[in-house]
Amino acid sequence: MLRYLLGRFWQSLVLLLLVSVIGFAVLNLAPGGPLSQFSLTPGMTQADLDRIASQMGLDRPLPVQYLDWLAHLLRGDWGRSYRDGRPVLDIIWEHLVATLLLMGVSTAIAILVGTWIGVLGALRRYSIFDYAATVGAMIALSIPTFWFGLIAIYIFSLRLRWLPAGNMYTIGNGSFGDYAIHLIMPSIVLALVNVAVWSRYMRTATLDVISQDFVRTARAKGLSSRRVLIRHILGNALLPMITLLGLQLPTILGGALVTETVFTWPGMGRLFLDSLGYSDYPVVMGLLMMSAVLVLAGNLAADLTVAFVDPRIRLS
């Protein structure tokens, strides 16, 4: 068990290293480069730019810059923002919670609704409900999340005035209910795509389990269909879904970024866009790394959970 754990952990670290090389290359090989932001300042001469470059170490060869950056990263120093000089990690930390909150609530909604639709679709295969769920999932996958957000704001904030159009809380009111009301729209908008994906896979997983012998045995033993559904079918169909949840993480995180921009949600997505606008390279790089860390950690956690929960997997 320990060996498997270490092996997976090691793989993730190697992948993370690759990710950092790719991210660093993308940002630094782009024309303009980190200095483009400073060249906009009025009265800035080439000599000034050269001095800034040498102060920040930007005149060194790229591989040296990368190793230097990596060495600092490993010591917990993710660099400082070009915008306000604050440590990158602190800034990301502030925005991480908002994103995780949005992702968490939205994923919980997606899992509940998606499981319900998927299981019901599998139990009543080829019924009108099943067919509608299939077509509905395909359409849900095709609607641009940001457009869906705009339409939701138009209907529920501007016309009906039921829900706030953006932000995480009302200034001066930070109560639990206030947060909850602000969470409703963005989390449902973000959940839409995931409900579609989750329900499709859940339907397949349930169909796989239903036709197996132990379900027939359970029914033959005279267990109530409710008990068979919950203990035997749902329990086994949900197992492969844990892995799916891990694999879906990049999509959910990307969707969160999209949703945050529409709902001015103060999370990592908004920070990413703001930093892009300022050419704030250290923060952009930090966010790329943080998103990869989240994704890889999520996948690792999913694999480990499956390994612990599923007694059929022997890890020796």
């Binding site: 992948l15 990710v19 940002l27 996958l141 641009p144 501007l158 990307g254 921009t261």
Partner: protein, 295 residues
């Protein structure tokens, strides 16, 4: 001879349109709906601008914010008084073209890389596939925006960076397919005949893996259109005055209350196009019986 002949024809004499796959595809109602919609969309975008009395760049400040169906403005006008229908069709040309071109580039690149990785296997294959894994562990929208923000945005560059962030899944699908085909008898036979590696890769392996590739390519068009729309919506994609479905939505949010049609019309066009491609992809998967773990 089209590519599909390789896969589809089961008897030498049969025409491709008599084949089982084509018949199965034609019976798939949603796929046929998608196909018809795409044809209608393409025709409208190609010929629509010629039939409208307005140019997509003509500015009429006195007629700004006209709601839909005022005079000949079927979809109304935008904050500069430009006809939205005219802009929608011109934007459709660009959005569909960018989506299609990005699909072609990423499919070719992903396929070649996937075949090479699957065929050679060993260390080269492992390195290539780890690279794919690494790029897939970013949300691709992050990578796309990071690239789009630092380049000079032009339709060609946007197409290239969308392709650069969407070839990985095709590479993964093709690699898995090729790896499963590599030890089959006909490949062993081809090797024993002394055929060159490139012949085996592109004349033996590629035709046998074409089903999943076609399905993945169709879904890639859908995703590329969505990605372009999003990047342009944020202002990093196609730059005005050149219209695209995405940049028509840029700025629509601030007029959401007074002029909701600015947001509704282009978004509906995107949804229609993407849904259609997804339906076609679904029908192709059923028709070609491609085993794929995607939806």
């Amino acid at each position: 001879m089209t590519q599909s002949d390789f896969l589809i024809s089961t008897h030498a004499r049969q025409r491709w349109w008599h084949s089982r796959a084509v018949r199965r595809f034609a019976r798939h109602r949603l796929a046929m709906f998608g196909l018809v919609m795409i044809i209608v969309l393409v025709l409208t975008c190609v010929f629509g601008p010629l039939l409208l009395p307005f140019d997509d760049l003509y500015i009429d400040l006195r007629g700004r914010f006209s709601p839909p169906f005022t005079g000949y403005h079927f979809f109304g006008t935008d904050p500069l008084g430009r006809d939205i229908a005219a802009r929608l069709f011109m934007a459709g040309r660009i959005s569909l073209l960018v989506g299609f071109a990005a699909m072609v580039i990423s499919t070719v690149f992903g396929t070649v890389l996937g075949i090479a990785a699957g065929f050679f296997g060993g260390r080269i294959g492992t390195v290539l596939m780890r690279f794919v894994d690494a790029t897939l562990s970013f949300p691709n929208i992050f990578l796309l925006l990071a690239m789009a923000a630092f380049i000079k945005p032009s339709p060609i560059m946007i197409t290239l960076i969308i392709a650069a962030t969407s070839w990985m899944e095709i590479a993964r699908i093709v690699e898995a397919e090729v790896r499963s085909l590599r030890e089959r008898d006909f490949i062993v036979a081809a090797r024993m005949l002394g055929l060159s590696n490139s012949h085996i890769m592109f004349r033996e392996l590629l035709p046998n893996a074409i089903g999943p590739i076609i399905v993945a390519a169709t879904l890639t068009v859908a995703r590329a259109i969505l990605l372009e729309a999003y990047v342009s919506f944020l202002g990093y994609g196609i730059q005005p005055p050149l219209p695209s479905w995405g940049n028509m939505l840029n700025g629509a949010q601030q007029y959401l209350d007074s002029a909701p049609w600015l947001a509704i019309v282009p978004g509906a066009a995107i949804t229609l196009a993407v849904t259609s491609f997804n339906f076609i992809g679904d029908g192709l998967r059923d028709a070609l019986d491609a085993r794929s773990d995607m939806l």
